[in-house]
């Protein structure tokens, strides 16, 4: 009886059908089209952001590679050798210098000599010859060393040249005596073009100088035509940022205020990567020596037999707190422990016990005794407090974020260890007597690819770069160590 009322209503409503107005489908169709377009636009925005992030990441990698290449390229060693040569040359009395004064860089022909001009010079120089070329041979060696970066050693006032410079010597001393077997044609052309760099300073009556003038005119004309400076009309670009902001607004409207957001989180992180202590080994005890002007002291430690900068490893672990400040921007901070290891070789008989740890005693270089070289590890330990701002490029279950910020790294200690056990380890902390800075400031750039496992947890992979604004040592080096690492973060979402 109790259900009679309901049954009556259910029967009355059963199988009822009402025709909706025709406008309903039209409105629905428009909404379907709009949804499809929105989906397309969302995809476009996503790919735009992904492309922008990729370009930025590629740029950072390129910058890092360039920095690394610049520090490790043979050109740096060549520059060092060049300064050696020029200093030796400067010490020579002007009266002892053969030939005219050395030509200045830039006085001669431009470096980017075309192959055609160089070939013309091959023929011209093969016919010309002349004693004046031999007279300026020594200057050319130096100039070539400057231009090519090849090593030129000076021994008892006699120049010994190798490679390209040797070809130049042969060519200039013995006109027409180019031996094709000694170098390939490209090398010959290059060497000859370099050889002619100094010729405009010679007597203008020589046939060679005529060729130079002619080729210079050709080159000048070619430069006018092929000038790399091109004025391009800047194309009008679509504003990307307002578009992104508009999309954010749309997403905000769509998602509403109740959508789940990660506003505050704490994460545990570990990272490992490469530690590059700088081209001239600022992390090495050589640089630790404040008395680098003392030649004896500079022998306390020698670098390992590698031509590139010393590369070690870096490890870190820490706790990070993150807070979302706007829909896309987050700020993160925390505390990390850093451990940076780099390896060197030493020939000091007493590893650091008397010298390395004590900044002042480093000056007493004369008391150093030498032994066979042995490897040592330099372990730098820091407590780091980073502050980073992050921009959420993709904020979904799968997240992508760019981070940039700074970090204050407080030195705990530096430990020098001999893995072979010949000498005991030694540690040096921060302080006024320490050769190490107490606080180092570093720039941080990283990307964070993350995946939300549940409402509470998110894991992420964080490849990044840490670049020290100052050398680790108080003096003795101007190079900046940097770390490239990959981190793993486990995030607990608080709210």
């Amino acid at each position: 009886m109790e259900r009679r009322f309901e049954e009556a209503w259910r029967k009355a409503m059963e199988g009822a059908e009402v025709e909706p107005s025709g406008e309903t489908w039209k409105a629905m169709e428009s909404e379907l089209i709009a949804e499809e377009n929105k989906g397309m636009k969302r995809k476009v925005v996503f790919y735009q952001r992904l492309a922008a992030a990729s370009v930025l990441f590629a740029f950072l990698l390129g910058a890092l590679s360039f920095y690394s290449w610049r520090n490790n390229s043979p050109g740096r060693e060549g520059t060092a050798a060049l300064s050696h040569v020029t200093s030796a040359y400067a010490e020579t009395a002007p009266a002892e210098r053969p030939g005219p004064p050395p030509p200045r860089r830039g006085v001669g022909l431009p470096d980017d000599v075309s192959a055609g001009a160089a070939s013309a010079k091959v023929e011209a120089l093969a016919q010309a010859g002349g004693d004046n070329k031999a007279a300026v041979n020594q200057d050319k060696d130096i100039d070539n060393a400057r231009n090519t970066g090849r090593t030129v050693e000076v021994s008892n006032g006699v120049h010994r040249t190798t490679g390209i410079n040797a070809i130049v010597d042969n060519r200039t001393r013995t006109p027409g005596a180019i031996n094709p077997a000694s170098a390939d044609s490209a090398t010959v052309e290059t060497s000859l073009s370099q050889a002619t760099v100094s010729t405009p300073t010679m007597s203008g009556s020589t046939p060679g100088s005529e060729v130079n003038e002619q080729s210079l005119q050709q080159r000048t004309a070619a430069k006018v035509v092929e000038s790399p400076i091109k004025i391009q009309k800047k194309k009008k670009e679509e504003p990307i940022l307002p578009d992104i902001l508009a999309t954010d607004e749309n997403e905000k409207k769509r998602n509403g205020p109740d959508r789940f957001r990660e506003d505050l989180w704490a994460s545990l992180s570990v990272a490992a990567g490469n530690y590059n202590s700088g081209a001239l080994a600022p992390g090495s005890p050589v640089v630790a020596s404040p008395s680098s002007s003392n030649s004896a002291m500079s022998m306390v430690f020698v670098r390992s037999n590698v031509s590139r900068a010393p590369v070690g490893s870096s490890r870190s672990a820490g706790l990070t707190i993150g807070k979302r400040i706007t829909r896309r921007w987050v700020i993160q901070s925390g505390i990390n422990y850093l451990n940076q290891i780099s390896g060197y070789t030493s020939n000091s008989s007493s590893l650091g016990q008397a010298y390395l740890a004590n900044y002042s005693s480093l000056k007493q270089a004369s008391s150093v005794t030498f032994t066979n070289t042995y490897p040592i590890n330099s372990v730098l330990e820091f407590v780091s407090i980073p502050v980073q701002a992050g921009y959420l490029i993709v904020d979904r279950k799968l997240g992508f974020q760019m981070n940039a910020g700074v970090s204050a790294d407080f030195l705990i200690r530096n430990t020098l260890q001999d893995p072979s056990g010949q000498v005991s380890s030694f540690s040096q902390g921060a302080g006024t007597d320490s050769p190490y800075r107490s606080v180092n400031w570093a720039g941080l750039i990283s990307t964070e690819l993350s995946y939300r496992m549940s409402r509470q947890y998110r894991i992420s992979i964080v490849p990044g770069i840490r670049y020290l604004f100052d050398p680790v040592f108080k003096s003795g080096s101007a190079d900046h160590p940097y770390v490239t690492d990959i981190g793993f973060r486990f995030r607990y979402i608080l709210r």
């Binding site: 009886m1 109790e2 009679r4 009322f5 309901e6 009556a8 209503w9 259910r10 029967k11 009355a12 409503m13 009822a16 059908e17 009402v18 025709e19 909706p20 107005s21 406008e23 309903t24 489908w25 409105a27 629905m28 169709e29 909404e31 379907l32 949804e35 499809e36």
Partner: protein, 185 residues
């Protein structure tokens, strides 16, 4: 004539013709449901439109565990509830301790046209209307309704009793006999 399976597949792929076919097949039945939950025809059409958009968006996830029309009806009801949710907050959350529904009379609504009944239902206050639809027509229990609307079971019961008394009054007002299976007493 497309089968439900073909319609589902085509709609999931975004085929506009099949979307229109699905709409044409079920829109009248679903419109009748929407009318019961809405205050007006325009509001019912809004619910229908939003409900169909959800249907098209979620058809990929439809696993044929239930009938397609049952699944779509559930979506329409949920859409209607979401539309009414704001208004439902206005329902006085007063628990009625013991509500005894003394209802022994036999009624018949055969004399009423569907549109008349719909108008009577639409005239109910929002809370009463929703609870009446869920309990009397859809067959949900008060516990389920309380859970769905985030109200207490007592509130659901009291809302239903109020709906019942209001409906009786409206039926009497209409001047048509509804007692005793349509027989005049």
């Amino acid at each position: 004539m497309f089968s439900d399976k073909e319609l589902i597949k085509g709609c999931a792929e975004g085929n506009r013709a099949l979307q229109k076919a699905l709409y044409d097949r079920y829109c009248r039945k679903l419109m009748a449901i929407c009318l019961r939950y809405a205050r007006s025809t325009a509001e019912a059409e809004d619910i229908l439109q939003e409900g169909f958009m959800k249907v098209f968006a979620n058809l990929k996830g439809f696993r044929s565990e239930s009938r397609l029309d049952t699944w779509m009806t559930r979506i329409m009801i949920n859409t209607a509830l979401n539309q009414n949710r704001q208004k439902l907050y206005l329902i006085p959350m007063v628990d009625v301790n013991e509500v005894t529904i003394q209802d022994t009379e036999e009624i018949s609504l055969a004399r009423f046209h569907f549109s008349e009944l719909i108008l009577i239902v639409q005239s109910l206050p929002d809370g009463c209307r929703v609870v009446f639809n869920l309990f009397a027509i859809e067959g949900y229990g008060h516990k389920e309704i309380a859970s769905m609307l985030n109200i207490s079971e007592g509130t659901s019961k009291s809302q239903y009793n109020r709906a019942k008394s209001l409906l009786r009054a409206k039926l009497i007002e209409s001047g048509k006999e509804y007692r005793g299976y349509g027989k005049k007493i």
